[in-house]
Amino acid sequence: MILLEVLRKIGAAVLAFLASVGRLSLFTGTSLSHLLRPPFYGKSLLRQMISIGYNSLPVVGLTALFTGMVLALQSYTGFSRFAAESAVASLVVLSVTRELGPVIAGLMVAGRVGAAIAAEIGTMRVTDQIDALETLSTNPFKYLVAPRILAGFITLPLLVLIADIIGVLGGYLVAVYKLGFNGSGYLHQTVEFVQRGDVVSGLVKAAVFGFIVALMGCYHGYNSRGGAQGVGAATTYAVVSSSILILLSDYMLTAVFFSR
C-alpha cells in the first residue's frame, strides 16, 4: 500500500509537470503568433527596450567590469606558475565574450527585469486590468506580452556587446595597472586571439536569454492568482525559472556552437 501511495505521488508530480510544460508551450506559441501579426505596438516596444536595456546598463556594466578584473587576477596567479602570463589576455577575452558576458548579463537581467515584468503583469492580473484590456477590444498578448518578449530578444545582445567591452576593459585595467603588463601588448594579444565566432556566439546566447527572461516574466505574471501573495510568488518563480533555463540553454548552445 505504501508502494502504491509512492507511485501515486510520483504519477501526480509527473502529470503536473507535463501540464505546466504544455501550458508554457501554449503560452509561448500564442505570444509568438501575436509577434508576427498586426497591430504592433511600437511605442510600447521602445518603452520596454529602454526599461530592459538602458536601465540595466549600470548593474550589467559593473558586474562585467569586476568579472573581467577578477578573471585577469585569477588567471595570472595560475598561469604565472607555468610562466604562461602571456595567456592572460586571451583567457579574459575568450571567457568574457563566449561565456561570462552573456550568462552574467542574463542572470542580472533575470533578477532585475524578469522580476519587474512578473510583478507588473501579475498586479494587472489580480486587479482585473488584464480582463479590462480584453473588454476594451485589446488583446493582452499583443499589448503586454509581445512587446516585452521582442524587447528582451533585441536588447540583451546590445547589452552583452557593451558588457563584453567593459569586461575586457576590466581585465586590461588589472593587467596593466596591477600586474605590470604592457598596455599595447595586452590589447594586441586580445585582438589577436578573439574571433568573430566568439563574439557572435555570445550574442546569439544573449538573444536567447533575453527571450527566456521576458517570456518567464510574462508567463508567471499572466498566470498569477490570489492577490499580493500570488504576485510575490510569480516574481520568485519568474526569477528562479529564468535563471535555471538560462544556465540550461547556455550548456546546450555551447554544445551546439563549439563541439565538433
Binding site: 494587472m124 486587479t127 482585473d128 486590468q129 480582463d131 479590462a132 484590456l133 480584453e134 473588454t135 476594451l136 477590444s137 485589446t138 488583446n139 499589448y143
Partner: protein, 258 residues
Amino acid sequence: MTAPVKISVRGLTKAFGSKKVLQGVDLDIVTGESVVVIGGSGSGKSVLLKCILGLIRPDSGSLLIDGRETVGLRGAERDRMRAPFGMLFQGAALFDSLPVWENVAFGLIQGHGVKRAEARDIAIATLAKVGLGADIGALNPSELSGGMQKRVGLARAIAAQPAILFFDEPTTGLDPIMSDVINELIVDRVKDLGATALSITHDMASARKIADRIAMLYQGKIIWQGPVAEIDRSQNEYVDQFIHGRADGPIRMQVRAS
C-alpha cells in the same frame, strides 16, 4: 414584452475543480432593460458576468447575444462579439501606467482606431458626463479616491457608446453618499445610451435604484426573478433573508472563495 431579447443565457454551468460554481443558470435580458443579479459572496455572480463576456469559458450551456451563439468563439470572432460591451469592474481596474484621460480613451484608440487628439476630446467630454472636470484627465489613477476611480471606470466603460453595459459590484467599498452618486450616474448613463444593462451586487439599496428587474443567484442557479417592485412580495424565503440581511434563514454562508 415586445422588445427583442438581447442576452439569453441557457443552462450555463461552470466548475473550478470539484467546486460547481454555476449549475445551470437561465436568464433572459430584454433590449434596453436593466437587470440586477443579487446574491451572496461566492454565489458565482462574477463568474456569470465573466462567462457572458467570454473571459471565462463555461463548461456547458448556451449564451446568445442578439440571437447569436457566443460560447466557443475564438480570436477575431470573439473580439467582434465583445465590441458592443462596456464593463465597470469592481475595483475599477484602471490602467495605472496611463493618465486618466488615456484610460477613458483606451478603447477608442486601441479598439476603434480613433486618432489620439480626437479620442482625447471624447474622453474629456465623457469625463464631464460622470461629473469630472478636464483637469482630472491629466492625473494618474493612483491619485484618485475610490469613488473617483469608479467614476473614471464608468467613463471608460461608456466612452465607446456600448450597446450593453456590465457593472460588477459598482458600489462596493464606497460610502453611502458616494454609492448613491454612482447609482444615479449609472441610471442616467444607461438611459442616455439606451443600453442594456446587467449588474451584479449585494448592495440592496443599489439594486433597488438601478434595476428594472432583479434576479437572485443562489448555489449556482437563478432561484427567483421579477420586477423590482415585487422583490418585497417574492414569497421566497431565500430572497427575504437576503434583502433583509438576516443571519438566520435557509441560506448558509459560503466559507471558501470561488
